[in-house]
Symmetry: C2
Subunit: 366 residues, 2 copies
Amino acid sequence: MSTSYFVVPVATHNTLVEKAFAHRGFNQKECQAAAQFSAYASWHGIRTHNAIKAIHLDHLFGSEVGGCRPNATIEKKNTRFSACEVWDANFKLGQATAYEAMDAAVALAEKYGVGMVSVDNAFHYLWGGGYVMDVAKKGYIAYTNCTAAVTEVVPHGGKYPTLGTNPHSWGFPTMDAVGFPIVVDWATSVIAMGRVQQFQRENKPLPPKSAVDADGQETTDANRVKALLPFGAHKGYGLSLINELVAAFIGGSLPTIRCRPDPTLENEKQAPCFFFQVIHPEALSTGVFAKGRSQKENIKAVIGDILGHGNEKCLLPGQMEADAARLSEANGGLLFTEAEMTAFAEMASESNVGPWNLGDFKKIEV
Amino acid sequence: MSTSYFVVPVATHNTLVEKAFAHRGFNQKECQAAAQFSAYASWHGIRTHNAIKAIHLDHLFGSEVGGCRPNATIEKKNTRFSACEVWDANFKLGQATAYEAMDAAVALAEKYGVGMVSVDNAFHYLWGGGYVMDVAKKGYIAYTNCTAAVTEVVPHGGKYPTLGTNPHSWGFPTMDAVGFPIVVDWATSVIAMGRVQQFQRENKPLPPKSAVDADGQETTDANRVKALLPFGAHKGYGLSLINELVAAFIGGSLPTIRCRPDPTLENEKQAPCFFFQVIHPEALSTGVFAKGRSQKENIKAVIGDILGHGNEKCLLPGQMEADAARLSEANGGLLFTEAEMTAFAEMASESNVGPWNLGDFKKIEV
């Protein structure tokens, strides 16, 4: 079954998104970061974290309610540790903060082999996988995690959601080995809350062990879901906890009050944190690879072994995003469904941007 | 239902283990590392990776077959990256290598905020959780991963085991917050192969989605199991892949030929790799915590929030190990079952160590 898509040139998309963010008070550099990042996500087939979601997040948690502050200045804290930076983002737009943090981490990794940037008072950066993919394409190993805005996930063995969907993202410069960066990137819940709503609409059962009802009992009935479960039981719970612990070391807030503005919570902090780390691949290397291989050839040989022996149909993490990018490339733009195009038309109208007529765009079937 | 244990004083255990390793040709420092580490594992209730397992691994993959070389000298490679070290362990005993690597990473973290040690030509270090727990108790955030000796795990969507059970271990200095370090530590397979054998003996079905048969089809029949599956489908697969990629950057071997000595594999490497990273907690800190809390108080508040709201019965990762340590402390020694004591008696006999009579040890019921 094929799906119809409209093809939106990147420049057209970016002009709209920049204007939409400018309309909300963001400065030029922030608007460019927002547009560039959502184009990157859409280019790689990421439908859950595109420009529409970015505007939606800014509406719910961002500039409209004070969770994100247009034109904020990042304050770089003093630290005695030379391979690390610690920032107070002062609620700057997440995309602008994350790009700048990854650039700083790359510069540190160039010098020290590894570089870290920890960010307090952050605002949602949308899709961690995008930043690590971007840095991996520049030749580095990258990692990021963040604490989610709201708590939707129940700790293993518990009944009340006190954890976010707290994602982890790792990117590896494997372009020479497999043609694209391997990107391991996912939330620590089995499914996202958006998927629960989809199951509700479609009247379908959830996957087992993905959610609980009001009593903390597992349920596959989408209508009874009150909270999500971590993937892999105690293992995913541990991974989710890591984000909260790292954030707590940085200066992060109690999870259950994060991004739920409440004037009675005097002196409590209510923002997510980001953590970024970049490793220079040469800083790992002994320089001695079997059969005189280069480091890149060794990576190719190792991946070839893993995907050999009858495993040729396995996907590498990042493969689907690479395939989507090829499709975008082949069609000369970003692919959006009719529903998404309608949302863009609303964005154009709200932001006083010129016409966004669906008839002006090329249509394709995929 | 209670279990009977023999109580073995740490000094008695260590004398035996040191002599057993000395008998196999290891030098004094290696013997001490082997004894100290297995005592630490047993003290914390780790029954799968104790001294008996250490000797078993040395027999199968170690000094008896050339996979581990007693008295080996670690070669520290030149690197231009100041926060990183890269070692060729020359097949030194894993416990001695890992202790030394963590010490080096701590020294780097003291200076740079983060320190990394990458190790090629390594030999099994038994239980990654032990090293990160040890470093966390010293006040640092620690991480390690390694590539497993043999490939027992099928990549997501595949049919042939080309991945090891590749574990990850994170430790956090949360002693002031919860009384013990939080240690997130597990293999990336749903279960270990040892558990499959246990299910076989007990004639019980495996948990779903934990293993495949010879055709790569999921099976819960322990007798038909040919290979294991990663936990959390593509998510655990990605985590397992990370260890292989990091090892491939270091200088690691193809996974399927690792630790399977084969003279026809000319010039191929066949050893696992280790990766260690230590972060100084102050290198993450903005110094600004809500309500004037200290960093430690903030961590306590965050954990209190996660385990509040009806989640009071949830365990933190590391809790069970901390409980086991309290039990060891209360009984004044390491707790071993009769089967384990018999294995120790065999170890004493093989190593020409004096008598190991079960009657000489205190017995308790737990």
